[in-house]
Symmetry: D2
Subunit: 390 residues, 4 copies
């Protein structure tokens, strides 16, 4: 074996005050597979430079803009220049930067969503088809070992024929008007930065992607409604939909950012004709399995744990009982991406190989479009008689 | 204080092999407020008599039919004859027996649903308005102390203005074709006995009633879909709906009997602009309260427990940590009903006073009708683009 | 089958303001097996009469003293007089009343502990050996179905050879000086009424009895320490011990009434060389089973639930997911006792047959003596008398 | 602010097949504060080199022995040579390497325990007092934010005067004879490598250290017993002790590696005269707080979460609901250590400043000695030396 070469990574976005940039840095740092060699962290020069300093990035490779970064890094010798661009900007820049980076010859690992509209993401897909550059999308929850275990249970028939899926993603942090003072809230509720949907774009897409992944199935139709609860808020902060899948399952998808007091309570429940399963993001190291006619069982993450599929085991670092969490989940995506960059695997952008790619991005866009259309369309609300309420 | 006189009760239905009759007997026995003095437990003479024997009911007051029972009991001296009829038959008999019993001068405590159609239940309501006879409906979950506590939290403003409600009632016991061999499954899936809906009539009404009770609000519209998963099953076994309330909350209602492996997992979550709450029937002695800006709190049932409203305390028998359950919840309904029968309170059939009454029955009927209508109507299903799935 | 005859029961103690009397009344009422026909509820005439009134007991059979009750009931015709005396007084009266009742020809069902000293309980045992009267002891936790399931798992070898047992019973209600104003606290901390130990006598005996029952083994030695945390409190309110069993298991027993904020958190964990199990009284319908090399499993109480032994199923009334609790557990003891009284089974006082009897009483006394001796001594391991285990 | 310079770290131990070395690498990688510049990973040359290759360590700085590494690194220019030695060998080498490293001018971050005997650890302490080199000890659990929160609750009086502490650390992985085939089990049960205690040295010290840390108190006496359950196993695999603290609290400490089916279930419960708290390592992001007279509360880890002390917040990276785990806890220790190395804080080896140091090491040794003595003796209470508490 040759000596492992760390993958050289540059970051766009993620200056001080941002949230997800720091998460990505923890994630790619965890397993020692990456060197952060350059960045364009903020349009604000002071923020940009102090972020770079705090991260140990050299000033010579701290760039005033992402355009500048792509330009100058391209000019560096191959063994020195960055290999991967990590994009952690607001949503509206995801596609423009991805396109430019790929055209400049870099691999891209992008925070979700892939873009702010189906059209631009399709264009990105076309571009990817014409190159050998890699594209990864941070559907972080798909990095959890027990999400892979849940999918394995479905795929291997432990639940039988799937009938029902319930996925919910309640948060409470936008229960009041946060956008006047919270930077994260500000851009996430601004259509020019976040795209056409707020809550559904931000977290509904996670719920949707999780459901399709665990089910190994496509959601083909939905009947939903979006809501906005705060005066002057421009985008939805809450919504729900009845859903149907290609293979014939039905269910419900809920996403909300006004569920007061909830933290980040993504959950999925799946039921087939032989059993059910349940997974909660906030207790991510367990999958509850309920086979008909037996006591229910709890499969637990960790090295050496019984009953796990290879895909789950490969995403664990330590023995059971030593909890791994959200950062480890994202680190699993970055690790697989590093392997693909080094050519350790046959990962390509058109083939999901542990890392969600452009197809996941397209699915998210399709979901947002369908939710917006359904919510805007004529309702088929049925009146419940007021009898008994007088 | 005069010596407590036990309320004399007669039961219709509840022979050997039935489920809910035994539950009612446990419930009215628990607090020593009732004497079971007579019964028409089964149309099958052998079952009827052996049930009576096992319960210690005298043969002379064991009747071959409910018609016979109403008739003969009416003829007994006032101090001897039954005061309350407890109806635990299949649904289609609920109204006919209730009407006959009330006309014969008896109070009625009826297993839910009130009937099999809105029309007949309205007629029953009209009848009740014309008498002073009492009518109680076994919406058992409304007997739980912590359901009252949850309602109190909503009413007292601890959650602020209510925005969202999510109520779900997953069971798994009808995941396969049970109706060929399970008596309970058989009549519950037979439209001539159960009414026009299976799952929604059986447990959806519980979810609906719980939501309206906790919210102290009326669900005014819904958009839902019903499903039947077993070949030859004649009624729905699963469904879900988006819902809206009179006061402006929105949410989701789910009820299913094909959630493989689930026992009886009724749950409700409510969110307002100041906080949220959560209650699970399978762990009924806790209400989780999530006020914005504070650690979440768990209110616990039991005598001497902090933070409980009077309505909750009055429904507890023992100090916290000694779990009370489902039978105690139903016993709370029977207790309140006994007080009303004795005139200890101003309970009347037209005034919910701890015991759900005919109005709850009407609400359930209205819900079933709306679900059936919504499910049968033209859908507004929005297609999710297949993009990314190829 | 002959018509079931309710067992005629008289209660001593349990006047207004008492706790455990009401619990017993709920418990024997639940299944309709008993009629409360008489009582001596309180030495205070007013309390005695108002209690009788509220329970519907006739004045003619409401007695001023327990001596009077035994006397007068004995004189009644056999088909009328009480059959069972339920004793729910403070501890110091348990033996005197039990002895007198048995001599007068009544069966006895007594709140635990059996007495306040090993000597008097031995004398009671001798008396029981000379009669055919039945004696039941309210070790309520041994009425839980899942405690029987846990015992079954041990007995059937699902855990292999047992190595470890940890039992803990933390309560918080005596964290402050309650005895000045709380009647329950007052007598429980008074040596003349409660006996030589407070916490260990009151709840330590439950933990001890639970451990011996689940293990089907005897605790033979302990090394413990008792503490009293409140000024002027005369008895222990807290303690712990290392323990050893006859079959060679070791472990820890903890009981405390100063664990601030704890309700009634009795728990047991057992580990063998093939697996472990865990049961919590506050969530009594589950037993966690952890077989080596498999995902852990949760066995759930209820009719129709998978994996339960007969002894567990026989103690459930309703299907899984409808929680049964503490009152149901005690009701299970009363039910088995009623069967024995009627001669439905071969239950005798010298043979544990679903209801803990005098041997359980002796074990509790032996435990208290050993704890007091160990705590007072300099010796490390104090032998627990094998009395009651032969 | 100057550009952050990564701390240059060398690792001793942690070759392929080891467990804790990889954990340390995840931990120091997570926050990007360290560069792994050299290592002596294994005495086996093949393992050593392949480990180095897989980690990207240059062959020129991959050393055949730790002696060689200290020697050759000392000779490198100051800006190039390692600054910190991370020691992840079996226990018997901890002190020899620490001493040599400090004498060679390096800072030391050592896996626990500090050594295999109190004497050698005292000598190490003496050495540290004579230098300005830093010494950190990987008591990983003390890096969890909610452990700091628990300590804060105690220190700030939220529990009042502390009465009781119960700490337990059950594992199940040594329930059978693993030492014949499992490298981790092999050295941990070999006295020449692990020291005089197995389970107590390995995990009992964690339980002990956690209790002292949360209580901010010293355990002064214990009365305990050790057990060995597997034939031919040379060290204890299980034990428990009654404990007393300097400030007057009492309680129980349990540690076992034969609790079949348990993963890594370290828990602590503390009770004072105003309330109690509870923390579980396997659900590390919550502390349950039970104030007398109020519903119990759950404090949750994460940025922006209510009620957290600064020490807890400073150890969180992401908002509540995104679980952080065991690796993050150890990373918190490495981060604080990096700050101290850079002189960002006034951390010194003699002053606990976020990172457990040599005093924690001494406490662990004192605990092991007391447990061994108590278990071997006939005396009831064995004094725990106050060494390290001044």
């Amino acid at each position: 074996m040759a000596r492992m070469q760390k993958v050289r990574l540059g970051m766009i976005g993620g200056g001080e005050g941002a949230f997800i940039g720091a998460v990505h840095r923890n994630a790619f740092g965890l397993d020692g597979q990456y060197d952060l060699v350059c960045g364009a962290f903020s349009r604000d020069p002071g923020n940009n430079e102090s972020t770079a300093d705090s991260l140990g990035v050299e000033r010579s490779r701290t760039y005033a803009s992402w355009e500048d970064m792509l330009d100058k890094e391209s000019a560096l010798p191959e063994q020195q220049r960055m290999q991967v661009v990590s994009i952690v900007t607001p949503n509206h820049l995801h596609v423009p930067i991805s396109v430019a980076a790929i055209k400049a010859g870099f691999h891209v690992f992008c925070e979700k969503p892939a873009g702010v509209g189906l059209g631009e993401v399709k264009d990105l897909q076309d571009l990817l088809h014409s190159t050998d550059r890699l594209y990864g999308l941070a559907h972080t929850y798909l990095g959890y070992p027990m999400v892979w275990q849940a999918r394995h249970m479905v795929q291997s028939g432990m639940l039988g024929n799937i009938r029902k899926v319930f996925v919910e993603y309640p948060q409470g942090w936008l229960s009041a008007n946060e956008e006047t003072h919270n930077k994260q809230a500000k851009w996430r509720t601004d259509p020019s930065l976040a795209g056409g949907s707020g809550c559904m774009g931000d977290i509904g897409t996670h719920a949707f992607g999780l459901a399709e992944f665990v089910l190994d199935d496509a959601i083909t139709a939905l009947c939903g409604q979006l809501y906005t609860h705060i005066d002057d808020r421009q985008l939805d902060d809450d919504g729900a939909a009845l859903i149907k899948t290609k293979k014939g399952a039905t269910g419900v998808l809920i996403a909300s950012q006004v569920c007061a007091g909830e933290e980040n309570a993504l959950k999925i429940k799946v039921y087939g004709d032989k059993g059910g399963l349940e997974w909660h993001q906030m207790e991510p190291n367990s999958v509850v399995y309920r086979p008909i006619g037996q006591p229910y069982q709890v499969f637990r993450a960790g090295l050496g744990q019984p009953g796990l599929c290879d895909e789950a085991v490969n995403r664990c670092r330590i023995p059971g009982g030593h909890p791994e969490g959200y950062l480890e989940a994202m680190a699993n995506l970055y690790n697989d991406f590093a392997k693909a960059v080094r050519g350790d695997s046959n990962h390509t952008s058109s083939k999901a190989n542990g890392v969600p790619g452009i197809k996941s991005g397209l699915r998210g866009m399709a979901f947002i479009d369908a939710m917006l259309a359904s919510s805007d369309s004529d309702t088929k609300w049925e009146t419940v008689s007021p009898v008994g309420t007088e």
